[in-house]
Symmetry: D2
């Protein structure tokens, strides 16, 4: 069985694991008070061109979204997101669990459009009853999106502009950020993300680490007593070293970008091969998630040898499925997948 | 600097880390759907003499307490705990964050007494206003306690008896369970814990793992859709393998008990040495946490070379501090600590 | 100034107020333990043809929705509602405040359609990732809806059928229930509501009372310790008599229906008059809320003498506004409103 | 049966009810946007000698505590209260329901002592682990307390001083404030309360109103968008007139104080009579709640004709019970109670 079902089917990148092994028996204080945390934060600040960045390491993506959003919202506020955003759909209500509504806006290819955001905000404040409604308190986007699509620099800047006019922090979920930054056509760099966003996270779990997400507050805006809030959410790791050593490794010698580039190369190989076989895509994704439309018989046949994700029903006879590559994907596995796929 | 400040100053036990390295590039499904999870659960069921046990792996202790307690309580219920219990004091309000009150009962040496529990429950139901109060919905104990003390088998059984009479689940926080099981004088075994408790967790973070706690539901009582609740709490790990591989290693060839025994041996060495130097203890602890009373000058002097925890002020000139040993404590470090301590 | 801005611009119906005055100095126990509560409940059971109904009086609508929904959902569940439902939009996130997501389904004239509900549920359980999503745990409808529209008996039964198949309680928000029951064309009676729904509330605040909503659990399904849950939500009224005396009056000699009928008559008068002047409606409402499309100049002019609600922008020059009648509306005020409205 | 079980056994003071009747058919906007709200607020500002006071009317006491405390705390904060405080014990966990811990300090006669408060705060910040604990974010006191006792002006000032040093708002629960202000020995006036406290509420439910509590923010510190927060808590009354007309009446011609004085006179009569019969008191209460120790036989006998509250078991043969007077207590009922009590 070859697994293309997600970008977290292997453990850590060997370089990352090596550093965990090398530092394993060093005595270090807990909760992020260790030298590797300091070192990793410095490297991330440099990579972001953001010397004032405040950084906190958390374990997983839903946990990060839940903790950051809850910490930054007032009790009467909700978070605006595309209706397909991870926080809107696939986090089992983790945001609502903390008392906040996710305010959905219809997506376009998984993205939130600046124009739609502005209209939403204008209408909200025009509404004479808006004091009886949830105030928008933050804007959430994911990059890459849940569909693998990417914002352009211009789109990000347009969102940031609306957010600043309305004094709303812009939060970017970068669970797969590396795969976005290394996408061939993108004009968005890590410093662009740091400049446009008030807070974002650099995903480790899906990009080379065993676990871990680095939250970056870019505007001197880390919430007061954030460590306590993290603890209160059950999100404070005792052995903070597990996160800091991994991020220190990922941000040494551009490892984060290198491992991301490999996933993109594998995705491109897969994408071209699939297209050559005559299959079409649900939409055009420039990153590591490819949404391919299969006829149902091919889908069933392929599922005997390859794991992938159901995405959505296209019509009676066709289904969109997702293949994900990662830093760990082997070229031979992509070729085997292509070999198994019949010509349309 | 030698660190005795906690039992989580090193990474993972070498055997545990070795298994992570060996399995690192195997492709495995996420969220605990992997063969190592199945294997680890089987071994834990055997170790607990509890074939029906339902087991779920979580990342950390506060997270585990928060998720399990919230999942098992009704909205009008709170959890009874000793006033010194971890959930009462040192989890930054993680239980209240989920809407539930911690109902404190005065401790005796860190323990909750069956008699005090029964009186609390009797008075609650006698109180004509109890419908205006938080209903007790669960009983929380920690073993070892936050003071390093242990319940006897008889004490555990007495608590379980009261709980059953009042139909309250008994939950045991086993963050340091191994150190309790390997304590020299204890008559409590892992099967005893499984029999007395409705749910408990076997702590990994402090006993040989990089992270991870194994929650064990012993009475066919895992809450419905528990995975969804875990996700909602931001506590579901994508790479579940990180937890399952470690617990699989810890429950192979009694490794969990072996690494625990080492911590106890080091604690005994420390305890005897400290006593021989003429120091007294805040209370008698049979496990890996030793609460020693130091005069303040000795404390300040020692702090230059050794890290330990402030525990409480004893009088104007004396302070109780905590030294913790672990699976990783080196005998030479204990001896060096004793060398640095002057005779009283 | 004449107020058509809402159906709560006057105090209580004189008959209701009279009973409050008459009973004012009687000594009664608090929290609903009074004889008027028992009497009111009996009368409501009779009116509902539902002898087993369990009834609880609460103060206001949002409070009722919040308390009932939170009490009936499991922590991993959300409530399905039309995207225009009161709980979806105009309760400032009161449902999310208790940790539950409102799961919106696109409305048709303010209503939730049984077909759309079924499709939602089918897709949910088909989705391989549904354990990472909020489980549907209840269905919320309002009758009349926020647009003044009504379900037919057949539509209610169809919704109830889907709910029973999926074991979801059907909850009806009857903030304006009287105005629905007395609408001329309706075939839905109070016993129909009681039969179709698992729980609903009979609105008092908007239908003759100073405040108060009567929650009716129809299927032996009042949540355990509901009084405690009500207290925990800050919703338990000390002087429960304020609610029970009013509902006892409203359900004596069909007063609730009589006061409702008056509002419908006034709404019909207004509706016909407005139509005769050449105005059109946003949609056809058979109840006490009429959504009229005005050109903006007329709207501004009328606003000098009459208060009404902004509803939505129709086009550059037209706006939909809401006129609400109630049990207290004076015929002369409706005629004055019509006089003030110019012919189109 | 004569009811001394609480101070809310009758409806509204006749003057208050009269105003409700007189204004009943006036058309008024909802949610507190009515002229009586403005009028009542002005009168309260004058009575408090606090021209800048921001005032909001809520329905009940637990609701008020829950809404105010939740609105003023950060997510990582809890509220300090005496362990006998209403929020600590008798609100069914309403504070915890909003995610905040009640931090209990042992009471002295129901009161929180400034010295104990200071020690708690000093120890909190001395504790090296305090970032893993709930931060104190507010101080809650009740005046009169749950035992009927009162703070002196000096005690209030001392609490206020500690609060200001630690930048904690001081919140006074005045459910029975009138009965405190009219107690014979007190030196605390309403302006003193307004000066010492950052926020407090003037209880209406127990002091002459059908329902209603007036929250007073004294330091330009009403939380932003407080109306939305109130709505989110299900606490916004549609017919705000019900609250504003009542408070307007209560603060006209000192009615609030006059009705309170009557309760105190009745309590004094009862207290003297009971003492003359040879009974002792659990503690000395100068307000409308009297905690009397009865032998159990007398208690059982008396309960046939008079209702009162169980308070606590004193010894095998004696029980403390509470008798409450109110603005509505009849002198003849007190005399009948005394007649029924045998000499000790």
């Amino acid at each position: 069985m070859i697994l293309f079902e997600s970008d977290y089917t292997e453990g850590a990148h060997p370089e990352v694991l090596k550093r965990l092994v090398e530092t394993n028996l060093e005595q270090l204080s807990g909760y992020g008070n260790d030298q590797y945390a300091e070192s990793a934060k410095k490297k991330i600040r440099v990579a972001c061109h953001c010397p004032q960045a405040e950084i906190f390491f958390l374990v997983g993506g839903t946990q990060t979204n839940q903790t950051v959003i809850d910490a930054m919202l007032q009790n009467y506020e909700g978070v605006i997101a595309a209706d397909t955003g991870h926080v809107s759909v696939h986090e089992a209500g983790a945001i609502e669990h903390t008392g906040h509504k996710v305010l959905p806006i219809p997506h376009v290819n998984g993205k939130l459009e600046a124009g739609a955001l502005r209209r939403y905000l204008e209408l909200f404040y025009l509404d004479a009853n808006h004091e009886h409604m949830v105030f928008p308190g933050m804007v959430y986007i994911s990059h890459p999106t849940e569909f693998g699509t990417l914002y352009t620099k211009r789109e990000l800047q347009a969102l940031a502009k609306v957010c600043r006019e309305y004094q709303l922090p812009l939060y970017l979920d970068g669970a797969r950020l590396g795969y976005g930054l290394m996408s061939r056509g993108t004009d968005v760099t890590l410093p662009d993300v740091a400049e446009c966003c008030d807070v974002f996270y650099i995903g480790g779990t899906k990009v080379g680490a065993l676990c871990g997400e680095a939250v970056v507050f870019t505007k001197h805006n880390m919430p007061k007593h954030f460590l306590t809030t993290v603890k209160q959410h059950g999100a404070l790791l005792a052995k903070g070293r597990l996160l800091s050593v991994q991020f220190d490794a990922l941000f040494t010698d551009d490892l984060y970008l290198k491992v991301s580039r490999h996933a993109i190369e594998m995705a491109e190989l897969l994408k071209q091969g699939v297209a050559q076989k005559g299959y079409s895509f649900l939409l055009d994704s420039p990153t590591n998630q490819q949404l391919v439309i299969l006829d149902n018989e091919t889908m069933r046949e392929l599922a005997r040898s390859v794991s992938f994700n159901f995405w959505e029903i296209v019509d009676e006879n066709h289904t969109a499925v997702r293949f994900a590559t990662s830093w760990a994907t082997k070229e031979e596995d992509v070729r085997e997948l292509l070999r198994l796929l019949p010509e349309v």
